[in-house]
Amino acid sequence: MYVYDTFDQTLINQRVNEFRDQVKRRLSGELTEEQFRPLRLMNGLYLQLHAYMLRVAIPYGTLSSEQMRALAHVARTYDRGYGHFTTRQNIQYNWIRLEDAPDLLYDLAAAQMHGIQTSGNCIRNVTADQFAGATAEEVDDPRIYSELIRQWSTLHPEFSFLPRKFKIAVTGAEHDRAAVRFHDIGLIISRGDAGEIGFEVIAGGGMGRTPVVGPTIREFLPKQHLQSYLEAILRVYNRYGRRDNIYKARIKILVRELGAEKFTEEVEAEWAAIDKANVDHEPSEEQRVREMFVPPAFAKVSGGVGKKADQSPEFKNWYRTNVHAHKQPGYGIVTISLKPIGGIPGDASAEQMDLVADLAERYSFGEVRVTHEQNLVLPHIAETDLFALWEALASADLATPNAGLITDIIACPGLDYCSLANARSIPVSQRISERFRDLQRQHDIGDLKVKISGCINACGHHHAGHIGILGVDRKGQEFYQITLGGSGAEDAAIGQIIGPGFSYDDIVDAVETIVQVYIELRQEGETFLSFYRRVGGEPFKERLYARV
């Protein structure tokens, strides 16, 4: 994985000094809150309901054991012993003090970590497929390009004061685990006519108030022109994106208002005028970065999972959902579920983080991933190590065998933490999780992504949920709207509202009713999503609103 050289390190060290100075100037009153706010946001520091929240970047969701230990250290030293992994592969701490933030960032910088551009109207953390470098179905490792984009976008002098936030995602596999069509820019690594590597470029996708599945604006961009093309898109957005209304300021609005064709023309015209040699990376730089993402020294593994594993039904349950095929024979990709039954989705204690760091060091070549569905991944596990790993995870409540099942719920922090929220999302998630705790039932239901957002900003990505739940405030009461049929994968789709919403008391019963309709009426082998796409919303509406 990428390791900083002295230049990368210098930049984040100087950033810490800059922020320390800015905090000093704020506390002395030299900077007003209005002036300071965008500066602290560009270091990931929000003011939330209870305290400051700090969002630390985990570039393309990849981190080392050492970095995971640094995150545990922050949780223990500067927070209340835990952190929350987010739907953009970052981590958030909820109880940070402004006066501690410079020291916190100083400590993180020693582990090559920071909060740069994790908030603010700038280019945010680039997210990528959490199975990158481990899955067989990969054209090329998306993290190579994510790292190139990270460098190009960090403290970009022209694009640090955009109309609004800007999110980029990259996938190298046909099965899209990065939800690229729901991003401001999505990149799908592909091959051109001569077999050369490049990208299908998607622009203007997004969640939020006005969800959009982003259109493809360029079928093929040769990889050597990555930065210059992004620069063209960003310049068009920076100049013409709306600044009069924050709810209409994302690039998706510009693409819609101009039309994809006209927008593409503007981008292509700008790109034609850009001096590409000045902006694009040198092949040698790509090679330098690429060398940091070569596969680890895999061993020759034989013997499979072993006898103890074969004889353990609990292990087999976990193996069934939480171990994914690896491109290397004898290896597997492990998903660590951060969704214990009745637990808070995506949260991990400092102790759990330390354990994951140790296990990664021992079993996964020191590498961990964060998924945008708020789980962790150990990407390279020898089959012969799986049982021991599972036992260790189980001892820390990290072995819930539910990856991809209905209790693997994605939920934003919601009204329990977030100042933007209208309703709580975490307790809804907990109650759904409890309701469906029976593992046999979960397997009978199969693949079912439940995604919950506590407000219309959709940080829980509910639009992309097979079952999406949106919390709203109805006359001072928490109320929940249900959408069905969303998908964040390569078959991207926005969920459809099913009908009137449900109260906090009734929402879990409603979800159960929806599941029951599916179980009763599905055809052999039909997933929930396929079922919905076949039958539509009517069968659900009939049952949900029968007695209304």
Binding site: G29, A51, W95, L98, I344, D416, I426, G476
Partner: protein, 98 residues
């Protein structure tokens, strides 16, 4: 309906209330009660509060259910601000009774 004034401490981010003695307290029971929203907002927008711009941020007036120290904020959001996340009772502040 009574009102109180709530803010976040600039340095710590913690919830604080404007107290009777015109300082900032983390004890809801000691928050100064205002009889009307107009009265509270007038103070929020006053020079007196502006002088605290390097002590607190996000100053606003919120409704509480009555005028005694035992009364809680009206909106659920403000109750959560006063007591902490509903899903982590171990991290909650217990609202003191007068």
């Amino acid at each position: 309906m009574s009102q109180i004034i709530i803010a976040n401490d600039l340095r710590t981010g913690e919830i604080v209330y404007f107290a009777q003695d015109r300082s900032w307290t983390d004890d809801l029971a000691r928050a100064k009660r205002f009889d009307s929203e107009e009265d509270a907002v007038a103070v929020v927008e006053s020079k007196e509060i502006a002088a605290f711009s390097n002590t607190v941020v996000g100053v606003e007036a919120i409704a509480v259910s009555g005028s005694t120290a035992a009364d809680r904020p009206v909106s659920f959001r403000d109750v959560i601000r006063a007591t902490g996340p509903t899903v982590r009772e171990d991290l909650n502040r217990v609202l003191k009774r007068a």
